[in-house]
Symmetry: C2
Subunit: 200 residues, 2 copies
Amino acid sequence: MNVKEAIQTRRSIKVFDPGHRMSEDEIRTLVEHAILSPTAFNIQHWRFVAVRDPALRAKIREASWNQAQVTDASLLLVVCMDLKAWDKAPERYWRNAPSRVQDHMVTGIRQYYAGNAQAQRDEGMRSTSMAAMTVMLLAREMGYDSCAMDGFDFDAVGRLIHLPEDHAICMMLAIGKRLQEPYPRSGQLALEEVFFTDHF
Amino acid sequence: MNVKEAIQTRRSIKVFDPGHRMSEDEIRTLVEHAILSPTAFNIQHWRFVAVRDPALRAKIREASWNQAQVTDASLLLVVCMDLKAWDKAPERYWRNAPSRVQDHMVTGIRQYYAGNAQAQRDEGMRSTSMAAMTVMLLAREMGYDSCAMDGFDFDAVGRLIHLPEDHAICMMLAIGKRLQEPYPRSGQLALEEVFFTDHF
């Protein structure tokens, strides 16, 4: 499958085959590619929690308006961000670079994020959302469908996965084998409504 | 090119051939596929501004720490979000659905976002970042490279593109033909540092 076809055929699917098992290799392949996504200053804010324990899945489903894909998907990934990753030994994100470059980047990191909670959160959302899109398109190529979810109690799910206090959840991804064809797209805006030249 | 190869070969490139022209068809193809990305409640918060005017590009470059890719890229997309899209006739996002479904979704939209500025902003960041990743992977398949940018004065660029008051900028994407090979990755975290089972 090429990229164009993956984009065109990816739809949010909520009815998955609960009997399908994704192999460990497949799961690892998805996450190994997720972390090749771009991330500002190479901070790699993303943290992925694969929920395998069926009892934990059931509890997360309760915290997700009882949506069936939470338990029926072959893979449930809670896509999280470390909001303070920028401040945790940032020199490691540039350890392969010349020391001049490393110093420059670490200084830039501190200037960009220190004391700016909204910039920290926005950056985490950007990095983790891009990684999530990478996962969904690769999953499509691997014969899977996905559902990006934010319809759940973020605090409750955070407690269930022991989310550290300086982390946040971006979304959950349910990935599996579809048992239902998607509905027609529910109401696409025309390109002209969302695409501008030079200015609004 | 398949999805896996696009992910593996996409790197952030900052040196582009300033003489390469991207066709209108190519630009349209990128944005037409961007808007197939997932978006919560189908709200489609994304707004894309293609900056074509060379004088405007030069001004944006000044507001971007003079980074050359702003003027040298074949395509400069300012990826924006309408923070209030959820409240602007949301029934249109579900116009193709049965009225029962439409009513349910519109009610859900109001419950989720009304009075919650952080949820509105997080959602915009999620939707637009996923769309940006879609663009970057498709660009790779089309023989282009990209650079996702947040190193610029968001307020200044917002003024230059006449950003509406209830919108925000997520990032800029510079896309073009590379003139320089990427450096080795500067410091990838090990998979084990970012990938967990069941909980942190």
